[in-house]
Symmetry: C2
């Protein structure tokens, strides 16, 4: 079979890894797909810049249309990032019958349905394994490995930066600000860390996981997002004392024809396997009605892990080319599920309150919980060594989110409560 020609949009970290694998593993790849896979053109911003991999200068271009409009190119591999322009390139490439492999979570989370519709129309493949949890092949696991099951819950540590920060805070007792600065120096966090630490990156990935896992289009706006900037070292110490770790968890749940998706710092019981996922590693826990509990663990980012997933997608496209079945893999989101209202979302909660140290306080507080029908699993009151106040630590039974919002709201106007110090969802 004649060589399959790839146009690469972007030669940053992941693009460099893709070049390394395509060149280094050419024999292996050819044995699997029956034809050479060659890089025909590479889009770069600066053609003169020194590169970590050797590429024929003739193949470099700074004009995306050199790739999009190039009739020689079969597969466009998008590892440049970006949103509006990138979408334009990809839609145009699809209209010209080119297959797409992308690592761009923002693009898929926001424009997935539109891009996939365009792909079907043109009988093209669009694959995006690398967009979530870098080296972990979780998307094909959800679509193919669990095709027979009904997935009820997906929990993910899908952002390495925040997991690194929380792990360090837990292991070293350091503050958020200290660890963030260190992570920035090490290159684990960006100069502007907003997208990571505010949970936005994780939210985009959870949108993709929930869409594939629940077989329905989940929109980014349906994801309730809270980042880690307010997590204190004291919270982490409390969590540890109670047998928990604080993790930034994406949680997607499905019940009948409804779903909910959120991202928030969560207290995870140390008995749950996801609590032990540390540092920049990612993990996705999947619960299915039939399969029960499973978990998938690996590198969430980095040049070579992410490139592994990109090239695995290229291999899948080329296998389809050989069989002549591109763009015919069926619709993955064929269900019409609806987002749950807050009244329907149940979980356990942890609360840390600073209260006046006098008689009757606990009665007033438990009265509020009773009013909103939130029942409690445990309540511990203890003097606060630093203040003339007491601390109350509460863990609830499953409570609905709307009721909890009202409880916290009511606490703010309760005179005996000085401060609602922390509220965390509890898992495991």
């Amino acid at each position: 079979m004649k060589p399959v020609k790839v146009g690469l949009l972007g030669l940053g970290t992941v693009g460099t890894g893709v070049v390394r694998i395509l060149e280094g593993h050419q024999d292996d790849l050819q044995s699997q797909v029956g034809s050479p896979i060659v890089i025909e053109k590479v889009l770069v911003q600066n053609k003169e810049k020194a590169r970590a991999v050797q590429i024929d200068p003739e193949k470099l271009t700074d004009d995306p249309w050199d790739i999009i409009h190039n009739p020689e190119i079969d597969v466009v591999v998008e590892v440049m990032g970006g949103l509006e322009h990138t979408k334009e390139y990809i839609l145009e490439a699809l209209s010209r019958g080119k297959h797409i492999v992308t690592a761009n979570k923002d693009l898929i989370a926001l424009y997935g349905p539109e891009i996939l519709a365009k792909a079907r129309e043109n009988r093209c493949d669009v694959l995006y394994e690398a967009s979530v949890a870098g080296g972990i092949p979780i998307l094909r696991t959800l679509v193919e490995g669990f095709s027979s099951d009904r997935i009820t819950k997906i929990m993910g540590i899908v952002n390495g930066t925040t997991n690194y920060i929380l792990t360090k805070m837990s292991q070293e007792g350091a503050s958020y600000e200290e660890v963030l600065k260190e992570a920035q120096q090490l290159g684990y966090a960006e100069a502007d860390p907003t997208s990571d630490v505010e949970g936005l990156d994780a939210a985009r990935k959870m949108t993709i996981l929930a869409t594939l896992g629940f077989r329905t289009n989940v929109a980014l706006k349906d994801v309730d997002v809270k980042g880690i900037t307010a997590v204190t070292k004291e919270d982490i110490q409390y969590a540890k004392r109670l047998g928990y770790e604080i993790k930034l968890l994406g949680i997607a749940e499905r019940q009948d024809d409804q779903f909910c998706v959120s991202v928030q710092p969560t207290m995870v019981s140390r008995t749950h396997p996801i609590a032990a996922v540390n540092g920049v590693f990612n993990a996705v826990y999947v619960h299915g009605e039939a399969v029960g509990e499973t978990m998938f663990y690996g590198a969430g980012a980095g040049e070579m892990p992410t490139a592994t997933s990109v090239v695995a997608d290229i291999v899948a496209v080329v296998k389809n080319l050989r069989l002549g079945v591109n763009g015919q893999q069926g619709i993955t989101a064929y269900k019409e599920l609806k987002p749950k209202a807050d009244e329907q979302i149940a979980s356990k909660y942890f609360l840390l309150l600073h209260v006046q140290d006098r008689a009757g306080v606990l009665a007033q507080i438990t009265q509020v919980f009773a009013e909103y029908e939130v029942s409690l699993e445990s309540v511990v009151q203890q003097p606060n060594p630093h203040n003339p106040e007491a601390e109350i630590i509460i863990i609830t039974h499953d409570a609905n989110k709307a009721a909890m919002t009202k409880v916290v709201e009511a606490f703010k106007s309760l005179e005996v409560i000085r401060q609602v110090k922390s509220v965390y969802r509890v898992e495991g």
Copy 2:
């Protein structure tokens, strides 16, 4: 599209789960594959026996040829187990153009290449995801998820019975015999536990994992197997004190054009994620040159987890039917790798020796290690509270297996050594 008809060979635990999923998830499956999937015939030993699932008695047969020779049947699902007869049925079904889904690890480990060749000849699919690690979709992960990578190491806890036994021994300080008896009462171990406790079941699964991971035909005879019957509670206590757990690990390693595969009780550092896999759960750790460390965790057996994998394979066959591409997925074992000799297999070892408590003993022992060029990471000598002997605990640096065999042999004729109490491979 017209209904796809399935013939089910066997209606035991897994067969029952397959019926449950095919019936319970029919709408979902049809949305994915575009046609109903119906059970046409079911092979049972006794047609009169009461069943956990309702099946039209007309569909039951006690004659396998009713299914194999049935021109209506598109897919034969083999969940009856067995070897020679089962192979005969499957080869005959393939020669009649029927696709095969099987959960039979023994069959694939022993006759995989022959069956797959017959399948290619007849343009048929043979899928066997359920044969290894029940509910974990590890085979498609190796073949598709990591198609782009070179896998260098696979470590698996792939036998739930032995992991249950070792976990209980570790957590409760109980003896092998006590826990085995309990496991048999609970149905976690069979009346004749040989295949599990001697490591044979794990060896068959490792044969399949190594074949797919290393893209070469690994034969069952190439797997070096040792079971858990000699593991004592004292060994486990020593391991724990040093920061290790003892697990029955399948270990497959590849270097250049050579591989080695073994199954043995192994001391695994508690810092390794596989050390925390407890009870009947399974996990497969995969290291790839590019992707680095990954791990896949879930139920290794049981009605519904295993049936999830069987039905996912049925879905894959039916998708191929719709596209007309069955039996064209390419050869997965396209490499010619060779098994390593013992001289080429390196790992760390733990040794526990009972020795005479007198001067010069350690010198004689370390002299033997030096003679065979095995260097030591740590040596601890301590009095044995129960005997007029001393105990010596040694952890080696990476040593080759042939040298270690010679060391242990030499120790047997060394007068100062009363007994080589335990020898374990060390990982992590």
